[in-house]
């Protein structure tokens, strides 16, 4: 069973809440203090991506964040319910609509978010299918010293 589960409406203002909750649970689980900034950023990126996918696909379902404390690692799963195109090769015309020349488009920001996650987290897995996507990340837990 998950240690903490969080469901939030796919709105940008709730991403901060997800970051704060994830960091608090990670700290309690024993994730090293120096890594908490990375946890916060990675969860934020994953949730931002999920919110953007829900909004661009008009998905009304909430974004789901699952925080799991195991003996040796702390895992976070961020799930969206947006239909994903198959990951094999570029989608024809995917960059044609909805992007101005001046600002990075939704897909570019999406890619940058994933780039940040993969740069930050050693253990990360991104899966996607027709019924939604999932980003699974984990960090080692430093065991508490035995009491005398």
């Amino acid at each position: 069973m998950a240690t903490v589960e969080l469901l939030f409406s796919a709105l940008p203002e709730h991403v901060r809440t997800a970051r704060l909750v994830a960091a608090a649970v990670a700290r309690r689980a024993g994730v090293d203090e120096t890594v908490l900034d990375e946890v916060r950023l990675a969860v934020g990126e994953a949730c931002t991506r999920a919110v953007s996918l829900h909004q661009s696909n008009a998905v009304s379902a909430p974004v789901k964040v699952v925080l799991i404390e195991d003996e040796k690692k702390f895992s976070i799963e961020v799930g969206d319910e947006a239909p994903h195109a198959p990951l094999s090769g570029p989608v024809p015309g995917a960059h044609a609509a909805g992007e101005s020349a001046e600002e990075p488009g939704i897909e570019e920001e999406d890619e940058m978010g994933l780039a940040v996650i993969s740069g930050l987290v050693d253990d990360v897995e991104v899966t996607a299918g027709e019924s939604g996507g999932l980003i699974r990340m984990s960090w080692p837990i430093i065991p508490a010293p035995a009491l005398p």
Binding site: V15, E45, T48, E102, M112, G113, A115
Partner: protein, 113 residues
């Protein structure tokens, strides 16, 4: 914590002091500020990020957008940042090669290269 923005002019540079968290919720405010400055003819910007507690890829996207805008007018966008946790995000994404990053506002204002 929300985003705080303030601007001031130093010589021919406009310094944008940013504080708080730059994320998917607050980044549009920063984007508006940068667009407004460029539309008003400020093409040499210094973004002071010393008061920033959090920055994600949405914020990076806004800064890249700002850089593109000022470059269209042969301008510049320089960053001021000494915080390791913020600098790390620029390094991961390779953006340290794109933005001149300075250790102080004085340094950024004086830079001409």
């Amino acid at each position: 914590m929300d985003l705080s923005l303030s601007t001031r002019t130093v010589g021919d540079r406009t310094v944008v002091e940013v504080g708080g968290e730059i994320d998917v919720y607050t980044a549009p405010k920063l984007r508006e500020q940068l667009v407004e400055l460029v539309n008003d003819g400020s093409y040499h910007l210094v973004v002071d990020m010393e008061g920033v507690d959090f920055l994600d890829s949405t914020g990076l996207g806004v800064l890249v957008g700002g850089l593109k805008r000022v470059r269209a007018h042969e301008g510049s966008l320089r960053l001021v940042c000494n915080q390791e946790r913020i600098l790390k995000i620029f390094r991961i994404t390779g953006l340290t090669k794109v933005f001149p990053i300075h250790t102080s506002v004085d340094d950024a204002v004086a830079a001409t290269d």
